[in-house]
Symmetry: C2
Subunit: 471 residues, 2 copies
């Protein structure tokens, strides 16, 4: 029965099994390659991050130095001025000068903050990435050791299955073989029994004796073959049991490896990677957010100073700065001539009538001036309002220049275009200057009006006249 | 009576007056100088501001270019990689790679924003300061014209006062003179009358006649002098009245000039200055605040990506990236030998007893493994927690590096010192690696445990045995 055909069937099974195992072996190698590649990519990414932050640290440091130089250049210039000494003394500055100093302070603050940023990149963030890179490599190596052990165990299991299968096949083949031999013996026995049933008249005794011993021999052989078959049969069943148990356990082991162990292996490689990366990135973010907060604080200080850009106090301070120029002079006193003891307007006759006439003339002139003055005042106020509206127009919002499209490759912003176009500026400025011209005209009219002069004349005359009448 | 002594007194008065007027004249000149100086200081400040922003614009542009170059360098590197193509395709990146791309995006965003800032400085802020400078100069020139007129008017008034005073003095002197002459005439008359009262016995008629005509002459002269005196007296009073009125009006005018007109002149110089400066500074602030907002938005995007740094999804994605390596293989099937139709564990006698014995041995081994496994599981979890605690320690807050002292000349920050000191890092890393070592040991124990293998054996045996007993 062990025909070459049957043997080929066994070979096929073995070839099939071996190809299945080979496939797994290829996968195991590939898995290790993937993990290695993942680690290499991580190391590369961490190297890129280090290079990136090293370069960015340089850029921030250069920016910081440039800002420092800028601040220093103007600080040195102002330190020697009178204003600065004033500033040092009483901190009471003209509001625009105050803005200017705060602007320089802000540049120094930004310079310092960007130096800090540069330092944190270099001495903290990069160090972290370096350590994560070392850790990733170490984790991969350790997980590789475990993987090696796992693969060895898996191969051992697969080998056991192979052995179990082959043993079963062998014992089963032997069992079949034994069964065949037993059947052959049974056939021979049947043949012998059939022959002993033949008519015996022509048999010799000698022949009879020979035949009897032959039957006995066949029976003994059959018994022996029966025992052999039973033994082989049991062996074959045991081998099959073992094969079946190993098959179940092997499948379970392979399943466990693919579903759980592989995941564990990746976990080993990942150990701490995301958390450490998180902390490195958060260090970067903390630095950036803190720079932003500091910058914002500085800008708020400037904004406060800009809110306090105010002409009234500055005018006061300006006049206090030059007391000799702006202090009103002594009153002119009446200088009596040579013992003249009268120092008041005299309204005795015949001057009284003249004074009254003069009073009337002055009063009518005053009335005219009053009306004129009222006009001038109104016009001045209106013009001033127009100018105020012109100069306080809220044209300073540039937020639209900072709109970002969400695409990663957005187009260059067209800032210059967004600022008010040149012709419109020219027109506005022409308008403003025209209004200014008008403002100065009415202002001139106002300050040059002899109103006060006439009024003081009048008051004195009235006082004089009323004294006379009350006397 | 017009003794040199008296004339000197008049001269003194005039000298005093002239010195007082001269002082005012000096003040007027000084006031103009102050206003001119103020304008010069403004123009200088505005020039400084322009220079400052021109230089800062250059610094921002250079910073922007450096950032752009930095981003471009790494973008170009990543654009060709598999990851980037993946990114373009489905935006489904490994979480660390996503962080890296967003980091590069942020640099590009900052580059763009600083270019915008540079542009706004150059084409908006500087232009404004230039215009304010022009305006200040123009305002000063216009206020100077008004001041010139005001000063002329003031001088005219002071001149009038001078004329009034001199006229009064002159008429008063004349009046005194006329009074003296009148008194002289009265004395002569008295003398004449006294003489005519003398005994006339020794007088000749001729003499009598002469004396009478003389008395008449004196009387006539006295009358003439009386009239002259009255006329001069009135003239003197009128002149004094005029002088007193002019004095009052002059003092009022001078007061008006110092208290109101000077303030008005300064207002003219200030016209729009503070408001325009305010707008220029607000343009700067708007640009800075907008840059900050944009920067903050970008950082928030990165922070979000950092929050999503997560190993689970990355593991999933990693395995999906290599399906051939991680796909579980086909189950191993039972390969029956040559027409063997039994494919289950056989428990017929005498195998039954053997199987039961084996079951008992396996079960006792399993119990041991179970206990071991439980231990391993606990230890693994505890170790993992320790590692988790180690890698998630919140050591990334760098805010103390950005503390600013309020002084304008603050000391350089000592950033490197504030980061955890080197020995402490080394200690922490040693600790971490020790824990790692332990983790890998228990992990290895866990994955290499033949638990699954034994359990699957057991299950199959139990199934077989229970089938027999139920049969």
């Amino acid at each position: 029965m062990s025909t070459p055909n049957r043997f080929k069937k066994d070979k096929e099974i073995i070839a099939e099994y071996e190809s299945q195992v080979k496939e797994i072996r290829v996968q195991l190698v590939e898995q290790q390659k993937c993990l290695e590649q993942q680690t290499e990519m991580r190391v590369q990414l961490l190297q890129d991050l280090q290079d990136f932050f090293r370069k960015k640290s340089e850029i921030e440091m250069e920016y910081s130095r440039n800002l420092e130089k800028l601040a220093e250049r103007f600080m040195a210039k102002t330190r020697s001025t009178k204003d600065h000494q004033q500033y040092k003394k009483d901190q009471n500055l003209l509001s625009p000068v105050n803005c200017w100093y705060l602007l320089l302070n802000q540049v120094r603050r930004e310079s310092k903050d960007h130096a800090t940023l540069s330092d944190i990149y270099l001495n903290n963030v990069i160090m972290r990435f370096m350590q994560i890179s070392e850790d990733s490599t170490r984790m991969f190596k350790k997980s590789k050791e475990i993987a090696f052990q796992l693969h060895e165990d898996l191969m051992k299991v697969l080998n056991e299955l192979y052995t179990g299968m082959k043993t079963y096949h062998m014992y089963h083949a032997e069992s079949i073989n034994a069964e065949c031999k037993l059947k052959e013996a049974e056939k021979q026995e049947e043949k012998q029994i059939g022959r002993s049933g033949d008519p015996v008249f022509h048999l010799r005794l000698e022949d009879k004796h020979q035949r009897r011993s032959s039957v006995k021999k066949i029976e003994k052989m059959k018994e022996k073959r029966q025992a052999k078959y039973s033994e082989n049969k049991l062996k074959s069943i045991k081998a099959r049991n073992e094969y079946l148990l190993t098959l179940e356990a092997t499948n379970a082991s392979v399943f466990k490896y693919y579903i759980h162990d592989l995941s564990d292996l990746i976990d080993c490689c990942d150990l701490g990677y995301h958390a450490s990366l998180n902390r490195a990135m958060r260090t970067f973010l903390s630095a950036e957010y803190n720079l932003e907060t500091s910058r914002h604080e500085g800008l708020d200080i400037i904004e406060n100073a800009v809110d306090n850009l105010e002409p009234r106090n500055d005018k006061q301070r300006f006049m206090e700065m030059y007391p000799t120029a702006f202090c009103p002079p002594m009153k002119f006193e009446f200088q009596p001539h040579l013992g003249d003891e009268v120092c008041q307007v005299s309204a005795q006759q015949p001057l009284q009538g003249e004074l009254i006439l003069r009073y009337q003339q002055l009063q009518s002139r005053l009335a005219t001036l009053k009306i004129e003055n009222e006009e001038v005042k109104k016009t001045t106020e209106a013009t001033l309002q127009t100018i105020q509206d012109m100069v306080t127009i809220e044209d300073y919002d540039v937020s639209e220049c900072f709109q970002h499209s969400r695409s990663t490759e957005s187009v260059k912003s067209t800032v210059s275009e967004t600022y008010l176009s040149k012709p419109s500026i020219a027109k506005r400025r022409a308008n403003q200057q025209e209004t200014e011209q008008f403002y100065f005209m009415v202002k001139k009219k106002k300050v040059l009006c002899p109103f006060v002069f006439i009024v003081s004349y009048l008051i004195l005359i009235i006082e004089t006249i009323s004294k006379i009448f009350s006397a």
